[in-house]
């Protein structure tokens, strides 16, 4: 337990200066949204698709008021509630898609790097093709295809994000595997008679996944944007299924001309904040975990005045 805690605290204890502040600020911002997501049913005053409470209908496009601090939109929904519920949707999608990426991308990268040959060449070709495709376009195409299967659900959007981001996981893991498998400890594992599967699982895995957490947080920020983009185009999650900031923004577009600012401002602000928070965490982690960027907190060197016995050097020559 203590080891887990100290491992978790390591990024904080080992960073200095800007990297540390980036990490702290990022963690705080992200934590607010995570709390919103987890406790949405209790934090949000109303449901995300609720247009009346206690028998009274909400006003249409109502100004911010004590009952609705962020106002209401043209579907009579409470904007504050939708922003809070939106955090839940965003995190659900991001976590699911990163989970898919890791579960698929890491083993594929490991196999591909370890065995090489035609398997490697085929996978590299596929992944490079995916990577070369404009990512947003790819997400649109995939969610179009999946809309028939899953409808505009969280799963469908997560899968389309997975297709966008999986090449990065694959490539990172494959490349680290390629260099790690040349290490002498892999040969040593062979020399004790380990099977390929054992070597990959117990000797390579732990050493090649180290950059995945950083990649995960950085991708999460990007994924939030892609998700909002899909929602804005109406390809994401429908407003009755879940609250989604991008979709809300799209609906708020029409309001902007008539001087209604609150329907667009708050979801937009939520997107900006969460993306900033996740980026800060990612960059902060990168500076801590990536040895080429890491700058450890060095204690200043203070040379005490000389002790008498070290200055007794006599004149030489």
């Amino acid at each position: 337990m203590r080891r887990v805690l100290s491992a978790l605290a390591k990024p904080f204890t080992e960073t200095a200066g800007l990297a540390r502040w980036m990490l702290v600020a990022g963690v705080v911002i992200t934590a607010v949204f995570v709390i919103c997501a987890i406790f949405a049913p209790w934090l949000a005053p109303y449901g995300f698709a609720q247009s009346s409470a206690h028998g009274t209908e909400f006003p249409k496009v109502g100004h911010p008021s004590s009952a609705h601090p962020f106002g209401t939109d043209r579907l009579f929904f409470d904007v504050l509630s939708r922003v809070i519920w939106g955090a839940r949707t965003a995190l659900e999608v991001v976590i699911l898609s990163i989970l898919f990426c890791v579960v698929l991308g890491v083993p594929l990268g490991l196999l591909s790097g370890f065995y090489g040959g035609w398997l490697d060449r085929t996978l590299v070709l596929i992944m490079d093709a995916l990577y070369a495709f404009p990512s947003f376009l790819l997400a649109i195409v995939v969610s179009f295809l999946l809309i028939d299967v899953y409808g505009g659900s969280v799963i469908a959007v997560s899968l389309s994000l997975t297709v966008v981001y999986i090449p990065q996981y694959y490539r990172v893991v494959r490349n680290t595997t390629l260099s790690a498998k040349e290490a002498s400890y892999i040969e040593a594992a062979r020399a004790i008679g380990a099977r390929d599967f054992t070597i990959m699982r117990r000797y390579l895995f732990g050493n090649v996944v180290q950059s995945v957490p950083v990649l995960g947080t950085l991708n999460a920020a990007d994924a939030i944007l892609t998700l909002a983009g899909l929602g804005f185009l109406g390809l994401g999650i429908q407003s009755t299924q879940a609250a989604e900031w991008g979709h809300d923004l799209q609906r708020a577009l029409a309001d902007a001309g008539s001087g209604v600012w609150w329907t667009g401002l708050y979801p937009g602000l939520a997107i900006v904040l969460l993306v900033t928070g996740l980026t800060l965490v990612g960059e902060g982690l990168n500076e801590t975990l990536n040895p080429t960027l890491r700058r450890r907190r060095l204690l200043p060197v203070v040379m005490p005045p000389r002790a008498s016995s070290t200055t007794t050097q006599e004149e030489q020559g």
Partner: protein, 432 residues
Amino acid sequence: MPTKPDTQTGTGPLVEVRHLSVHFQLRGGTMARLFGRDIGTIKAVDGIDLDLQPGEVVGLVGESGSGKSTLGRALLGLVPATTGSIRLQDQDIARMSRRQLREIRRVVQMVFQDPNAALNPSMTVEQAVGDALRVHGMRSASRRREGVVKALERVGLSPVELFLNKYPRDLSGGQKQRVVMARAIVLNPTLLVADEPVSMLDMSVRAKILQLMLDLKSELGLTYIYITHDLATAKYFCDRVAIMYLGRVVEIGPTEEIFAQPRHPYTKALLSAIPEPDPDKMVPRDLPRGEIPDAADPPLGCAFHPRCPEAVRGCGWESRDLRALVEQHWLRTDMAYDEEQAVIGDLDHLDAPATSATLGTGGAGAVRAILDRVRAEDPSEPLWSGVTSIEDAGPGVTVHFEPAEPPALRRAGGVDVACVLYPDEGTGRASD
């Protein structure tokens, strides 16, 4: 070959290596790789015979690129044999399936050169050593721990509790090498291949690790292959020594015999290259020139001849030697370089090994004059004795050399040597 009298079983050698070759295909640049074209072959191990008696320590000594590590790895099946056989316990390691190979590694184990790289950085000492037991089917964690504790105690890592949960980064170099040894002996092997086990360690710990290896040998009845570039440790540690150069054994015999009377010029060179810390025992030395050549294009004839201080006529002189000789000449005469270089022209084409070499662009007579000047500088240079004729060829000359085969291992005194200076004892001195 002399056998140790105190063999454990008395039933002959533990390992019999016969005509073993390990060749690697080279693949060149981007284009070649794209089309899967082979550029050449490296004969890392090239036709080696070696017997290992039970309980013996055999040293494989040579520079990097001599094939000593590849030979050691072939004994574990870590690199596939191209031809030949490795017989151990009535099985041929060179022809084993992957499954059989995994099994044979209970019997043959390996210690690696760099203790910092030979341990998985994300495994504790207990996991690292215990994994050897685990991959060989020991499921019970408590029995594994028992085995690990015993092995760690054997290699001197006690109190064991201090080490079990340490990661490699928490250990010193010597301690890491002890863990590597523990991992090697935990399966109770009979043969241990030690690939430069002390060369990365500090002087002050080398002796400790060597002592540990000697202790383990007598306690566990191990047989060692000791791979090293350092004849000083080999002298202390080995019963027999095989000197290797470019994939072949050039001299093999009992340690005392080899050190008392080294025969092959390469052995002599290696011996003279060891820096001697005792100022009283220092001797002026005649070092071989150059470095170990590219194994993809080994010298013709005897592979050592371009560097050999004792080279003679039948060593297999060739085009590249001529290039080296002309370049040597230019090292000495700094004034004449520009002028002579204009006559000789480019030398790069001589890098293709051949027993005839055409060179020169400034007229046959001028080229001959330069070659004569080179020859006059050092008339005793053995290359000239290998020249059969020099013909005019267009604006230059063609130098023809006497072709030669690489010398085979032949009996000489108590050892076997592969050198034209030591013709077969049985047939008398034939090639005079």
